[in-house]
């Protein structure tokens, strides 16, 4: 049963990823469509950041992830390297949880 579900999930997951690129094929997209598609990742990422920062199942919580994201935001603004941003966020959360 678990193997069946697992392979079914693999198939669905791949079908979702491939639907756009394979169906659209090499077709040229109009500038209007392209501009809209260029923007698609922005709201998805913004929502992902929110859910991963304050989401806890169905609850909204403010925990160590909040200050960690604030530290990350300052570092992004100061144009720190990517790895520094990510590690500083983990370090901030770990530190806050250690003292809490």
């Amino acid at each position: 049963m678990t193997w069946t579900a697992l392979l079914a999930l693999s198939a669905v997951s791949y079908a979702l990823k491939a639907s756009g690129p394979v169906l659209a094929g090499g077709r040229r997209l109009g500038p209007q469509v392209r501009q809209t598609l260029d923007l698609v990742a922005v709201p998805l990422l913004a929502a992902l950041i929110l859910v991963q920062t304050v989401g806890d199942g169905h609850r909204l919580v403010l925990d160590a992830r909040g200050p960690a994201l604030a530290v990350a935001a300052i570092l992004v603004w100061r144009r720190a390297p990517f790895l520094v941003v990510v590690l500083a966020a983990a370090g901030t959360a770990a530190l806050l949880r250690a003292v809490a």
């Binding site: 997951s13 501009q35 929502a47």
Partner: protein, 227 residues
């Protein structure tokens, strides 16, 4: 193509390896959780190779760990994977043209690769960033899963190490350069409001998909700016 977007904050390869390492560490915790929820190490590894979309995988083993059946675990996992369809569509123009290459590359369409590709200034750099990130993340994610599945409960709670805070930080670093696109700030703010409103009531994954509606005010403001 898009002069409004500044230079990427780092080279594609450094970025790809950086995010790969972060994903690898998280892959370890996925392997640990998967085995703890009752999957065999082989099942955990096959899942990471074939499903290859972290949020869905965590949701799947989360339901199993909570006592749900494999069928019940499918629902939230599929909902969380729906956003990859939107990512795939947005990446269509930068993916390889040949159908076979395109079909292979499509497997790499996930949060990290989309964000990394979208943060680049031109289509060539975007394609390189997409492929480099995709391969790096795939290798690290699977290596991490294997290590975690074999380690089992030997590793502590990933939260103690702050690993759960790595992802919002990584996505913020990748979102930031994109906010210079016309309409992007409006799209992002709308998305955050939608997600905030839906987290308490909607099933996992739905708030993120619904936030896609933020594209509409985004496109409208971009039009308004141009007159």
């Amino acid at each position: 193509m898009d002069a409004a977007i500044a230079k990427p904050p780092r080279s594609a390869v450094t970025g790809a390896v950086g995010i790969g390492v972060a994903v690898g560490v998280y892959g370890i915790s996925f392997g640990v959780l998967a085995v703890a929820s009752g999957l065999s190490p082989a099942q955990a590894c096959v899942m990471s190779m074939l499903v290859f979309t972290g949020a869905s995988q965590f949701a799947f083993v989360g339901v199993l760990a909570g006592g749900g059946g494999a069928l019940a675990a499918m629902g939230p996992a599929v909902m969380l994977a729906v956003r990859n369809a939107a990512y795939g569509l947005s990446l269509t123009s930068i993916l390889p043209a040949r159908l076979r290459d395109r079909a292979l590359a499509a497997h790499l369409v996930i949060d990290e690769t989309t964000a990394m590709a979208r943060a680049q200034a031109d289509p060539g750099a975007a394609r390189r960033a997409f492929l480099a990130t995709g391969m790096s993340v795939w290798v690290f994610w699977n290596a991490g899963t294997l290590a975690g599945a074999l380690l089992g409960g030997g590793i502590g709670d990933p939260k103690t190490l702050g690993l759960d805070a790595m992802f919002p930080a990584a996505f913020l670093a990748l979102l930031a350069p994109q906010l210079r696109r016309p309409g992007a700030p409006v799209a992002a703010v709308t998305a955050v409001i939608i997600a905030l409103a839906l987290v308490p009531i909607a099933p996992a994954g739905v708030p993120i998909i619904a936030a896609l509606a933020g594209v509409v005010p985004g496109v409208l403001t971009a039009k308004g700016v141009r007159g």
